[in-house]
Symmetry: C2
Subunit: 143 residues, 2 copies
């Protein structure tokens, strides 16, 4: 029991502070980044510490995680209708593995650069978050 | 025959000009980006025009492409021994789908930023490219 508690997955405080949890699927947390300039979802696999990169996952877990990346990408494409998706697993600063799925438009404030180099901030209104949460939970079957 | 020739995959000129072809696997071209500051591989699936994002691939082709991303990541990790990998499918400027697999070190010139925001250039010596080509072809079983 103590062992179980020590192994429990903890979302990195910077990821938790920067977004809103939408739910859970395929052993991953799904978050909406609090950056209303772009539809930006984070997928955070519930992993033991020390696994930072996708290739470190065994083949089965890799397939499960990238399968969720695909489903989240379809959600972002269908719900937000962006012109382009940007998908990345970077994690140079926050080492807890997280995969970005970002919808991009040629008139968004970071275009054609990446969102990771963009320093502007635009917080969501609570009701906008709730609307996206409802849609994402339905589309993705989130717990 | 004419139809076949018209459908033939053509590597985007900017991708071709910016790197060295290492070989081909799983219906993808594998390139080394000509940027010696980072071990940086590009995977370019041989797709029809108009498919720009990973989620637009059907499930089988998606699995094939991300399987190669995993194998290339293992190659970069094993051969270059980076501290961290950065993997991304962005394509805001060159729309032909290409997936970046980049090895990162905390003392590389772009750290902790992304390589996509880095404007420095460092060309490879031809013999360094050849060494990496031989290793990649062997590790990945490239055609």
């Amino acid at each position: 029991m103590v062992f179980h508690l020590r192994m429990e997955f903890q979302l990195h405080p910077r990821l938790a502070a920067g977004g809103f949890e939408l739910g859970r699927a395929d052993g991953c947390r799904v978050l909406l980044k609090n950056q209303a300039s772009f539809p930006w979802i984070l997928i955070v696999p519930e992993l033991a510490d020390g696994i930072e990169d996708l290739h470190q996952l065994d083949e089965g877990r890799f397939a499960e995680v990238v399968g969720l990346v695909r489903r989240v990408s379809l959600f972002v494409a269908d719900y937000f209708r962006p012109e382009k998706l940007n998908v990345g697993c970077i994690g140079n600063m926050v080492r807890q593995m997280h995969i970005h799925v970002v919808g991009r438009h040629s008139d968004d404030p970071a275009w054609p650069g990446t969102v990771w180099a963009y320093e502007g901030k635009s917080a969501y209104a609570p009701e906008a978050v709730e609307e996206i949460r409802v849609a994402a939970r339905e589309y993705l079957g989130l717990e």
